[in-house]
């Protein structure tokens, strides 16, 4: 019954490392999203994608990039991790068109940068 899967639940990385967070969905959704969640700040949109190879900046894209080479997979990349990127990262997907309107979330990745 799993719909959106994130590659890791917990991750510890060192400052300056390149970090990849992977998200895979099995619902053939066009839209995929990456958020970070910090206490008191809610969910902030980092990047989103509405189709393969398409990407749009969200509200806080600085320090991040993304890749969408296949429809089912959306990767978030931290080019050079910093301690202020320690956070919970959540991936979501939803349809752009069609009758199914649910938006599903992965289980989240708690990233700690030391």
């Amino acid at each position: 019954d799993v719909k959106v899967t994130q590659s890791s639940r917990y991750l510890v990385k060192r400052t300056g490392e390149k970090v990849f967070l992977e998200c895979v969905q099995d619902m053939d959704h066009e839209n995929m999203f990456w958020y970070r969640q910090d206490p008191g700040l809610g969910l902030r949109l980092i990047y989103f994608s509405y189709d393969v190879k398409m990407k749009e900046k969200g509200d806080i894209p600085e320090g991040y990039s993304v890749s969408r080479e296949k429809k089912e997979r959306f990767s978030l990349i931290l080019e050079s991790a910093s301690t202020n990127q320690t956070s919970m990262y959540l991936c979501a997907s939803t349809t752009r068109l069609g009758v199914s309107t649910e938006a599903f979330f992965g289980q989240g990745t708690r990233l700690t940068v030391v």
Binding site: E30, N31, F33, Y35, L41, G42, L43, R44, L45, F48, Y50, E56, G58, L90, A92, T94, R96, T101, E102, A103, F104, F105, G106, Q107, G108
Partner: protein, 111 residues
């Protein structure tokens, strides 16, 4: 730029009482979602509201949508401790394919 505002940010209520969480948004939308999040967990979908006047109910929770006022409400009836969680609304705009969240309301139900 779409803004989504929720209030209150924090709500402490006694078991058995009723209360409403409000979600205001600044531009037209195609869908409005309500989610629940327990501490340390991901988001669980509660409702999807698609059209003006839509009302959905599940147990003690009822959500409604007024697209003209750009307002959605989540009403809690006769609260129980199990409803303690953080509740988020989120607005989807189809033209931009963007899903924007409110700040969340942390609900604490006390005995």
């Amino acid at each position: 730029e779409l803004k989504v505002e929720q209030n209150p940010l924090f709500l402490s209520m006694q078991e058995g009482k009723n209360y409403t969480i409000y979600c205001n948004y600044s531009t037209t939308s195609d869908r409005l979602y309500w989610y629940r999040q327990d501490p340390g967990k991901s988001l669980e979908s509660l409702f999807v509201l698609l059209s003006n006047g839509a009302v959905k109910q599940e147990g003690r929770l009822m959500a409604s949508l007024d697209t003209k006022a750009r307002l959605s409400t989540l009403h809690i009836t006769a609260a129980v401790h199990d409803l303690s969680a953080t509740y988020f609304c989120a607005v989807y705009t189809g033209t931009a394919s963007k899903l924007t969240f409110g700040t969340g309301t942390r609900l604490q139900v006390t005995l």
